[in-house]
């Protein structure tokens, strides 16, 4: 009965919470991860590349959020 009901996701925040829950369930369950070829070949150098890319993405997301806040403030200043 429950399965037949479509899952309603009201807004962005709820869907984000859902994604994070599913992610934490799969990531945190302690299963050994599949040692794929890409990250483990050439002495695992792509793990280093991945870490640098993550840091870069994190900084970019922070800058985009900061820019949005500044744009909102600019909008308020020009309105008044």
């Amino acid at each position: 009965m429950l399965i037949n009901k479509p899952l309603k996701i009201a807004n962005k925040k709820q869907s984000l919470l859902l994604i994070l829950t599913v992610l934490s369930m799969t990531v945190l369950n302690g299963q050994p991860i599949n040692q794929g070829d890409f990250f483990t070949n050439i002495g695992k150098i792509y793990v280093v590349v991945g870490v640098i890319v993550l840091v870069f993405i994190g900084l970019v997301i922070f800058l985009i959020r900061l820019e949005k806040r500044i744009s909102r403030l600019e909008g308020e200043i020009t309105k008044s």
Partner: protein, 346 residues
Amino acid sequence: MNIAPWVKVTSVILILYSFIAGLLIPLGPGIVSITPVQATAGEEVTLDIFTYNTHFEKSIPSVYFKSDNDQMLPAYSVNIVNNTQLKAHFSFPRLTPGSQGMQGLTLIINNQLDGFTLLPNALFISSKQSGETDAWKELSEIELNTSNELKFPYRSILQETIRNIYYHVSLWFAMILLYLVSAIKSVQFLRTGSIQFDEQSKSLAEVGTLFGLLGLVTGMLWAAFTWGTFWSFDVKQNMSAVAILIYLAYFILRSSIEDLDKQARIAAAYNIFAFVALIPLIFVVPRLTDSLHPGNGGNPALGSDDLDNTMRLVFYPAVVGWILMGLWIANIVYRYHRLKRKFLEN
């Protein structure tokens, strides 16, 4: 209050340096695996040895086993398969020096170009009797080369990911310093009551949390390919996640209080306690129990086993670079908060 230009230039140069030097300095030689891993004294054994970053075709290696009382047994012949693969033939005498019964021998490969490299407990040998024979030589009789080139040490599980120390650990160092300055600004706000200190404190905490979250995510990726899982419920992983949650609660606390003056005062008090809680969570608790992180479970942090002198050449500049970069970003956030307050005041 703006950040001086030299701070920005220094931070960019130091971080760029950490990327270039941290990625271009090669890894030292290392032994990846050998087969077989067990032998009996008195038999002849042919070993397949796989290594990393060695140049056997340019410089002929010699292969030894070292017993636990520093006696060396050289291989009687070595075939070079390629730069990183060897076939070594050993003939073990009936008597093995050192401890009786089962003994883990250290494999040593030496050549002039790469220097020597070793793998402890590479081969377990079982012998009925222990004793000295002519085949086993004193350690002082054998000459080992060391390489003078700049190289990062090879560690069997880490391999190239040892470079992540510059991109993961330095973020945590920068986070701690940003939180420290943030707590100091909160104290200043409570003492003087001028709102600008609270805004600086808030901005520093924001960037500190950014670095902390990045530290968690990069650490998870690193852990996945070295410890086997993204999250292994290691003490330090758990405690730093708790620390980040404490700071996330700080921002939720701020947004839950509408009165700006009250918000600033409560948030400043909370921020000081958050930093006080951070110290035991990150520095004390992980050292009390066993942890996968180096420098925990009673060991001194960042000892010479985890961070050799070549790595320090890259690691400390990276830490300073990220701290200055964090102060720069926090300053931009602070200027946004200041503008917003000035606009709301008018």
